[in-house]
Symmetry: C2
Subunit: 466 residues, 2 copies
């Protein structure tokens, strides 16, 4: 099979007039190669300690089999599957739906969906969104997949309570549990306890797989499988990428090359903003998945300082008319990773209807995919001519197999990057304070209301019309 | 009426233990107030020169009347309205649809939509997206709104050609023109010429209104009106904001306060990343509209340097589980503008189903909107406790009137910010090179193919499985 190709040419000194990396530094024996070797050692140590559960997911046939079984038993009964999960519990399912199902899945007929259910992901306790969801689904024909490893995520618990009451209002008491599936820690937490007490079916998130690394666990696989995505192919691609990312030679390990170049871009070339720009609508959601992975893993306190790049999602060609002006002429603080997709599966011909109109004639006879690819190459080249570095990741056809490989590439690169930055890529201590303050404001037992300073009304500006 | 309120407390020294702005600097006579006065002068000069056409749009009753008329005459005939437009020609329509129509508009029944058409915005020449669109709409019942001021935007022209052939394949030749509406320059360009030759209906974009400032022109008003949005209310809110943003007193001019504080955050406090974090799903698309406005207006060459902040869209509470770890613990390079919405129109109660489960009990009896608002306040406070500055913009109910005011607030602030940064906020010279290279790659007459350097295959990494 063919795996993604990482093209580094446009980040290297030969291609960039100024500010490029010297290729010798990436070769065997080069200083970046040696620097990576340290990060690789950290990675191998954590793998040996059993911390990197996400690496095992592609090889876990038992879970995949159980997911397929559950998906099949549920899929045929329900018109709507509603994932209740936030952060890593929701982003992966959306990325899979957008990349691998026909576009606008939830707007399509039963025939087009081949009688698979619609897939909604509610990742915000926004009353307007939730109200509108229940206006258009029938709880009697809906399955709610509640995803929270800890069983304590406030937003998800609130959404679960709402959904449960809606189901209970329209089905017999003993049928309520059949409308819920909990994806949670195999042993602990409130959802686990509840499931056992009430006989609600569950799927596990392994203890050593954190939320943002969980898309290839039941968290992402169940929603995917229930909509007919071939999870075996997804896992096969991921497995191949695990095999491909080994050793310390940057030229033989794409995740290593990706992590090292992005780290060096931030810490040496002063390019702390890492743009992921996908030239395909289907990968728009993937860029948001990446944003969480990269931001939450690497944005950390280190010693008495603060480190971490800022990931910035973008889509081509659309963002050429939104963000590219800034990328071209704004401060030199960005490196762009382009995602190039081989879209040969679908092409739409541009007809030659106005051969006499200069702004249209050259488009006639081409395909939209050809145009989109030309836009990507032109943008890459325009940035290069201004000595603005980029990496191109050639994804292939973006089918389940290559998408699985893409996911794993970024997951491994993230842990490598953690080693390079000298931070723990698996924790997220910075969100605890906000959680505690939320509990306090909501009156949860044992949390004291914060002592917020008085608002000075003089600095509340506006509010009345002229 | 009530306009948005800009709360600056959490960017000022009293609230922040370190790195806050001294409030005296913002007072009358303070240095930031004086600095803004210069930008205000630039603004007034450009307004007098007739460059700031967007300021006149809320008062242009004639265009609004014509839009309403066209919308009414078309709306009843079509099931689907398809906007073909990229950048400023597409983002505004999406922002309006998401903010002001019922959620998931295109998935709703005719009854819920009150027999208004579905609204699709195709802002990318992605063949997969376009193919899927034509799988689910009937061109005989579809109106294509082609938006390009210049009539030369490659992506939009290509999409127009595709749409035209699809329509021509299923209706009589003389009916084709009735399925198109061109929104373009009132005098020039290929679409104008074509419209006149063929009798295709048009709506104008005033010559002094650029793409990213065009949402309150026909560009955004027509798609809005055709779906039943009250464009008079939208314009009334915008008009009130124009009136409210006058003079050089930062405490009496919310756009001035917003622009000056964000500019100072970037250039003085070293916070070049400007996060716009909306606590409402309905404003998610608005944050992308803002991103284009801020990035393309301010990311510019100045002298022999480069300036401009990087806008970063976010949504709460969702991004608390994705980006907030980085905002809390990563480098101190961000200021967050929170959008707080008064969601009292819709509330969803969280039922008290599990009073014995500690992670759920405290949520019972609250509303989702209450929870969402608590999350916003908690995140604001958590950032403050770490001396990370934020601004809160209280939007009100986010109805058409307050949304119009919000749009105008940011548009005026953007031109003020251009004055503060010392750049022209109305141009986008940095995207010309990419356009020319695209033309060349597509073989457009008069554009020479670029001399792209050879790719060194040694730096194309990966590609085969292990």
């Amino acid at each position: 099979m063919s795996l993604p190709i990482l093209d580094l040419n446009n980040v290297l000194a030969p291609a960039l007039a100024e500010g490029g990396l010297d290729p010798a530094r990436l070769e065997v024996g080069g200083d970046l190669q040696r620097r990576f070797a340290d990060a690789h050692e950290v990675f191998e140590r954590r793998r040996a300690a059993g911390d990197l559960g996400f690496l095992d997911l592609p090889f876990d046939r038992e879970t995949a089999g159980r997911v397929a079984e559950v998906a099949e038993s549920f899929g045929q009964w329900f018109e709507d599957v509603v994932v209740l999960g936030i952060g890593g519990s929701g982003l992966g399912a959306v990325a899979l739906r957008e990349a691998l199902l026909v576009p606008a899945w939830n707007e399509r007929s039963d025939e087009v969906r081949e009688y698979h259910p619609r897939l909604h992901v509610v990742d915000n306790p926004d009353p307007r969104t939730v109200h509108a969801l229940f206006e258009r689904i029938d709880p009697r024909r809906a399955l709610f997949v509640v995803i929270s490893k800890s069983g304590s995520t406030a937003e998800t618990m609130a959404l679960y309570l709402v959904a449960r009451a809606r189901v209970a209002a329209v089905v017999e008491a003993e049928q309520v549990r059949g409308h819920f599936l909990f994806v949670t820690d195999p042993e602990r937490g409130a959802l686990r306890t509840l499931a056992e007490a009430e006989g609600i079916p569950t799927l596990p998130v392994p203890a050593n797989v954190g939320g943002r690394f969980s898309v290839l666990s039941s968290v992402g696989l169940l929603p995917a499988a229930v909509c007919g995505i071939d999870i075996d192919e997804l896992l096969a691609g991921a497995a191949a990428m695990v095999e491909a990312c080994r050793g310390t030679d940057l030229r033989a390990n794409p995740a290593a090359a990706l992590a090292t170049v992005l780290w060096a871009a931030d810490t040496e070339l002063d390019l702390p903003i890492h743009v992921l720009m996908a030239y395909a609508d289907r990968l728009r959601a993937f860029t948001l998945w990446f944003q969480q992975l990269w931001a939450e893993s690497l944005g950390k306190v280190r010693g008495d300082g603060h480190v971490g790049p800022t990931p910035l999602p973008a889509v081509g060609a659309t963002d050429q008319h939104a963000q590219v002006q800034l990328f071209m002429e704004g401060p030199r603080d960005k490196i762009v990773v382009f995602l190039a997709v081989d879209g040969s599966g679908v092409e739409v011909e541009v007809p030659d209807l106005h051969p006499d109109v200069e702004t249209m004639a050259y488009l006639g006879g081409a395909g939209l995919g050809t145009l989109l690819d030309a836009e990507r190459r032109a943008t890459t080249e325009a940035l290069r001519l201004r000595s603005r570095p980029s990496i191109t990741l050639e994804v292939g056809s973006a089918d389940a197999r290559s998408f699985g490989a893409l996911i794993m590439l970024f997951e491994i690169a993230t842990v490598y990057a953690g080693g390079l930055y000298g931070v723990d890529p698996l924790d997220q201590p910075g969100v605890e304070l906000g959680k505690r303050l939320t509990y306090a404001l909501m009156g949860r037992h044992g949390y004291e209301a914060p002592d917020v300073p008085e608002v000075d009304e003089r600095w509340r500006i506006g509010g009345t019309s002229g």
